[in-house]
């Protein structure tokens, strides 16, 4: 267990720091926008409701209508609404409940499109970020498939903003070296003098370490 313990939190410091920024900055922005939106949205509506004379009057009239109904038909029950999410409203009068229900409904409606916009931004951001990783992984995977099939002419080409450029360069360098070696071995194997060819091949392979060397 102790052997598997992570010794270095930063294996690739620049990459990790970059990713920390990629994740934290959008999250911070999203959180700030959301909180600000809710704060402004809800309290703006509350203040509107109580400062806009017409709205205030309409709300009071609406609640009065309900109260008249309830006075004439006492058995009328309140329908389930978003207000039932707030336990605090139990302490309010029917009149106050109706006023706040209207405010809440109005706020919910106005926040709906903001939510839709936020979801679109988050979706786009997620696709963008994940693509920076998923794209290179896909290309590496295809390169390995080609190598498995014996095609050493394959190379990994990444987009400018993709992650993994250094790894791709190293892999491409390794592939190039292997490709050259195999190409030379292929040319030597086609020579007429078989014993001379075997000697050349042995020389070329002498620096290559494989499981056969154990």
């Amino acid at each position: 267990m102790l052997q598997n313990r992570r010794k270095h939190f930063f294996i690739n410091k620049p990459l990790q720091i970059r990713y920390m920024l990629f994740l934290t900055v959008p999250l911070l922005i999203i959180s700030a926008v959301t909180i600000f939106g809710f704060y402004i949205g809800i309290w703006g509506k509350v203040l509107d409701a109580f400062s806009d004379q017409q709205t205030r009057e309409d709300l009071l009239t609406a609640s009065r209508m309900i109260e008249y109904e309830q006075a004439r038909h006492p058995e009328t029950h309140q329908t389930l609404s978003s207000l039932s999410l707030f336990k605090q409203t139990e302490k309010l009068s029917a009149r106050q409940r109706e006023v706040f229900k209207e405010i809440l409904n109005e706020t919910n409606r106005s926040l709906l499109w903001k939510f839709a916009l936020l979801l679109t931004v988050i979706a786009w951001g997620t696709v963008f970020l994940s693509h920076k990783i998923a794209g290179p992984l896909y290309r590496f995977s295809k390169a390995f498939d080609e190598m498995e099939k014996g095609n050493y002419r394959t190379r990994v080409f990444l987009r400018k903003l993709d992650e993994g450029h250094p790894v791709a360069e190293e892999l491409n360098a390794a592939l190039e070296k292997t490709d050259h070696l195999l190409a030379e071995l292929k040319v030597i194997s086609q020579e007429n003098d078989a014993s001379q060819a075997v000697a050349k091949i042995r020389e070329k392979l002498s620096n290559i370490k494989t499981s056969a060397d154990v």
Binding site: E57, R64, A71
Partner: protein, 424 residues
């Protein structure tokens, strides 16, 4: 100063009348009579001030943005007739207001089968707030119109009032049942509530049974429930909420003193209900500061938490320390002594917070230091009509009881007119 002198003079003249307060042994002092007259006159101003000048439709409350209420408009019609007859409005103004309002009701106000919507736009008469075509509110506006017609016989006012009445299809509102439905909306059609139990329904029943067109069967009168319960020795046919207004609205127009419904006299019933309501609040006088011997009146009104059907026992008895002055005042024909003392008490102790240009504001709650800053049209209306009956020789009762539809209702339902109940 001149206004005060006129009020004083009116009071003196009223007090000199032989038949004043003839239905009760209690006689208010000259000072009390002046105060009651002042309250009635001030209360009338609500309808003058809060009715649309072009349409005549009256606002439900004095609050800004309040819609027009059909029931309040009905009380306004009665109010203009009273105001004109008492000299509180010029005859021209009273008549023109009546004509404007009735023309609006007849020609431009939204209705279904003659039933007006509970709340309408004061400028256009269109239905608002998804309100229902209301049977009770229509009855109250028709009652006001018919009363006005009686004050102005042979005029356009009378013609329009009867046209509005004739248009109401009372039978349709039964919806095939034995009871009048409370209302109808274009969305939900007939409401699932019916006037099937004692309440303010009697004036509605009277107009529906006595109607010259589309009446409901007279048998409907006997169908509605008359639940009885006793509280503190007061046996009452009671309304479910125990709200005082339910014992008053029908009595504003109909003089039940000489009418016996089998063994029930509904005038006496309202008197007992008023005393029971007062006793109920008194039993909580240690808990609520606002309840006392002269501070009572539990009825549907505004309160610290909005409009509620406050009431006493018998009934659900919902209360929280809120007193509606209109409730005590509108019981003046039943309990003249207690109601007069209450009026004086409210006026002398709470005038600053409770009394304004249009009489008493709707309610107050001392425990929560809450004072209504509003007047409600229907509460103003019942106050005005009850005071008129009490102060001006039962003027409303006398005129309304002479109406042919009312006589027809009495005849068809077999209400006994022979009995003479006690005077006090």
């Amino acid at each position: 100063m001149f206004k005060r002198f006129i009020i004083f003079l009116t009071g003196i003249l009223l007090l000199s009348g032989n038949s004043l307060f003839s239905f009760a042994s209690f006689e208010p002092t000259q000072e009390d009579a002046l105060l009651l007259n002042k309250i009635e006159q001030d209360t009338l101003q609500y309808f003058i001030r809060f009715s649309d000048k072009k349409t005549g439709l009256t606002r439900d409350s004095s609050r800004a943005g309040s819609p027009s209420s059909i029931a309040a408009t009905g009380f306004a019609l009665a109010g203009y007739a009273i105001g004109g007859s008492r000299g509180w409005m010029s005859p021209e103004l009273a008549y023109s207001r009546l004509l404007t309002t009735l023309q609006m009701l007849k020609n431009k106000t939204a209705h279904k089968e003659g039933f007006f919507y509970h709340f309408v736009d004061a400028q256009t008469g269109k239905r608002i707030w998804a309100s229902e075509a209301s049977s009770m509110d229509t009855a109250l506006v028709v009652a006001g119109a018919l009363l006005a017609a009686k004050y102005y016989p042979g005029t356009e006012v009378e013609k329009l009032a009867y046209e509005i009445y004739a248009r109401v299809n009372w039978k349709w509102m039964l919806n095939g049942s034995d009871f009048v439905c409370m209302g109808w909306t274009p969305e939900a059609k007939f409401l699932p509530y019916y006037w099937d139990c004692y309440s303010e329904l009697m004036v509605l029943q009277a107009l529906a049974i006595g109607a010259p067109h589309h009446p409901i069967p007279p048998a409907a009168w006997k169908k509605w429930l008359r639940p009885t319960e006793e509280y503190h020795g007061h046996k009452v046919v009671y309304a479910s909420t125990g709200s005082l207004f339910t014992y008053q609205f029908s009595h504003a127009y109909i003089d039940f003193r000489k009418l016996m419904d089998k063994n029930i006299n509904f005038f006496e019933n309202s008197k007992e209900a008023t005393l029971a309501n007062r006793d109920y609040s008194l039993s909580f006088s240690e808990k609520y500061k606002g309840y006392s011997e002269n501070s009572w009146g539990l009825s549907a009104s505004l309160g610290p938490g909005g409009y509620k059907a406050y009431g006493g026992k018998p009934g659900t008895g919902t209360h929280d320390g809120t007193i509606a002055p209109y409730a005590a005042l509108s019981s003046i024909v039943f309990t003249p002594e207690q109601s007069t003392k209450a009026a004086r008490f409210f006026y002398e102790n709470y005038q600053k917070n409770l009394y304004g240009n249009f009489g008493f504001k709707d309610a107050f709650n001392l425990d929560k230091d809450w004072w209504s800053d509003e007047y409600l049209g229907i509460d103003q209306g019942i106050t005005l009509l009850m005071l008129e009956n009490y102060l001006n020789e039962e003027a409303v009762w006398k005129k309304f009881m002479e109406l042919a539809p009312v006589q027809r209702w009495i005849e068809l339902t077999g209400l006994d007119k022979k009995l003479q109940p006690s005077k006090d």
